[in-house]
């Protein structure tokens, strides 16, 4: 009868009970991660995210279990679990795949994904459903990834030759369809040209190449959809900038174990997110 009692009590105080349940979920998650650390966990990322009227700690961790890697991400009142694996084919390619489930006070979400390359073909596919805006379950889901409902995305690439690649994106993010076709040609630098449709037609031009000691990747989409993305990477520092119209912008800087993101969006307003990653086990050897 304890369950019946709890249900009766909960009926009068659903928010309190749900909040308590979520606290419990977070406690269990933290407990699991602490148990797994440092013997097994690969990495543990601790963060603090804030936007107007909302402040939450964030936590991300990965744990290899056999051929799978289990992932956990948590924020206030929401928890996401991922199981992923991959078929490794050496220099021929690989196919990674996984499943993520998220649960929290605001709702739930599930998502399946596959990403990989096999010889001349590359594929990045996602299929998911969320009962609420995804940012309520994970603050890192910006933009169209933030929409609730069905979300389908298929990004395929095909190498015409060693230097030329075709790309095709098709997607549905409730409630709109979108698509994009592109052609990339690579010499010392890579140029990408394309056309897309997202509420209306737009054009795409991209450039990727060495810039001093760094590598710059620039993509501009303009027309009915307007967005500039720039990523400048060096061995020590990675900087990401996005600028969109209707107005939204974000800037991210990653150096060593630290990562800082800040920006402005129509839904989130001004936000900031600071993260610190603890590399555990053999991970430290990766960058020798």
């Amino acid at each position: 009868m304890p369950n019946a009692e709890r249900q009766t009590l909960n009926a009068g105080k659903p928010y309190v009970v749900r909040r308590t349940a979520c606290r419990g979920i977070l406690r269990i998650a933290c407990g699991l991660l602490l148990l797994a650390t440092p013997a097994f966990a690969q990495s543990l990322t601790l963060g603090l995210y804030g936007r107007s009227g909302y402040l939450t700690p964030t936590l991300e961790g990965t744990l290899p279990v056999g051929d799978f890697t289990l992932g956990l991400r948590a924020q206030w009142a929401a928890l996401g679990l991922t199981a992923e694996s991959a078929v490794e084919l050496g220099p021929i390619g690989r196919v990674g795949y996984g499943l993520r489930a998220s649960l929290g006070l605001p709702g739930w979400a599930v998502e399946g994904f596959a990403r990989g390359a096999l010889g001349p073909v590359g594929l990045d596919a996602n299929l998911g459903y969320a009962s609420t805006s995804r940012q309520n379950l994970w603050v890192g889901d910006y933009g169209e990834a933030n929409l609730s409902g069905l979300n389908v995305r298929l990004f395929g690439r095909y190498r015409l030759s060693g230097r030329e690649t075709l790309g095709l994106t098709l997607g549905y993010a409730n409630p709109f369809l979108y698509g994009e076709a592109s052609y990339a040609t690579r010499a010392d630098t890579t140029w990408t040209f394309g056309l897309g449709y997202r509420g209306g037609p737009y054009g795409l031009v991209g450039w990727r190449g060495e810039l001093g000691q760094g590598l710059l990747d620039l993509t501009l989409r303009a027309g009915f959809y307007n967005r500039l993305e720039a990523v400048l990477s060096t061995e020590e520092l990675k900087t990401r900038l996005t600028l969109s119209y209707p107005w939204a912008a974000s800037l991210g800087v990653e150096r060593g174990s630290w990562r800082a993101d800040a920006g402005y969006g129509a839904e989130s307003g001004i936000f900031g997110w600071l993260r610190y990653t603890l590399e555990l086990g053999e991970e430290k050897d990766a960058e020798r």
Binding site: P64, G90, P91, R94, S233
Partner: protein, 228 residues
């Protein structure tokens, strides 16, 4: 004459001849091992690189032109890197292998997949090309036949034929041509159990370099690192 015939067929003499053949075989087998040791010593003198061209069989059974760049830094922190120029579908991909780890870079996904060496699959094209960077390890896993003297495009050479001691190498026979004047491989031919050629490769543009292990690990700065 009948006596002479009887002498020829004398079982003791036959045994003696057979024993001599065995001894000579052992001497030649030792020579093949010695050549392998000379090659290893020569390749361990300093960092080097070479272009490898030829044909390889892909997992689907078709044969493709291959052009690879092999770079090796010998020593305690031995590291080898294979960059793919051909086939076109793999251009831009590379593999880096050291004592502990294997790095696989995939151009299409811009990912570096890092795996422990014991777990990694590096053959991909039917043979583990990175093993060419560690000649002694490769020949230690082979039963070597007596070497033959041949003329290669680069000059007088030894031809060494070996069969794997176990199934882990993924082929049934390997034929190596080793230059006499500068002991290093100039060509390699790999066959499966039905004598089908899995790979036929020539070493070109061999040169000594001042490469370092960290230089061989160079990857695009924006590549995603995936540890498995």
């Amino acid at each position: 004459m009948p006596n002479a015939k009887r002498q020829t067929l004398n079982p003791r003499r036959l045994l003696a001849v057979a024993a001599m053949i065995c001894v000579l075989g052992l001497v030649f087998a030792q020579s093949a091992t010695d050549i392998a040791k000379q090659v290893q010593a020569n390749l361990e003198k300093s960092p080097w690189e070479a272009t490898i061209t030829g044909k390889v069989q892909t997992p689907d059974g078709s044969t493709q032109d291959a052009e690879l760049r092999l770079q090796v830094v010998p020593g305690t922190n031995q590291t080898a890197r294979v960059e793919f120029n051909k086939p076109a579908s793999l251009e831009g991909n590379f593999v880096v292998i050291d004592d502990k780890e294997v790095w696989n870079y995939l151009f299409l996904t811009n990912q570096v997949i890092i795996q422990p060496r014991s777990k990694a699959k590096v053959e991909g094209l039917g043979v583990n090309l990175t093993s060419l960077g560690d000649f002694e390890e490769l020949t230690n896993r082979l039963n070597l036949r007596p070497p033959l003297e041949v003329n290669s495009a680069d000059g007088p050479a030894w031809r060494i034929v070996g069969t794997p001691k176990d199934n882990s190498l993924g082929f049934a026979q390997i034929e190596l041509t080793v230059l006499k004047s500068d002991p290093r491989p100039v060509s390699i031919r790999i066959l499966d159990s039905s004598n089908k050629v899995l790979a036929e490769l020539n070493f070109r543009n061999f040169k000594r370099t001042n490469l370092t292990a960290s230089a061989l690990r160079k990857r695009p700065a924006d590549a995603e690192v995936v540890r498995r």
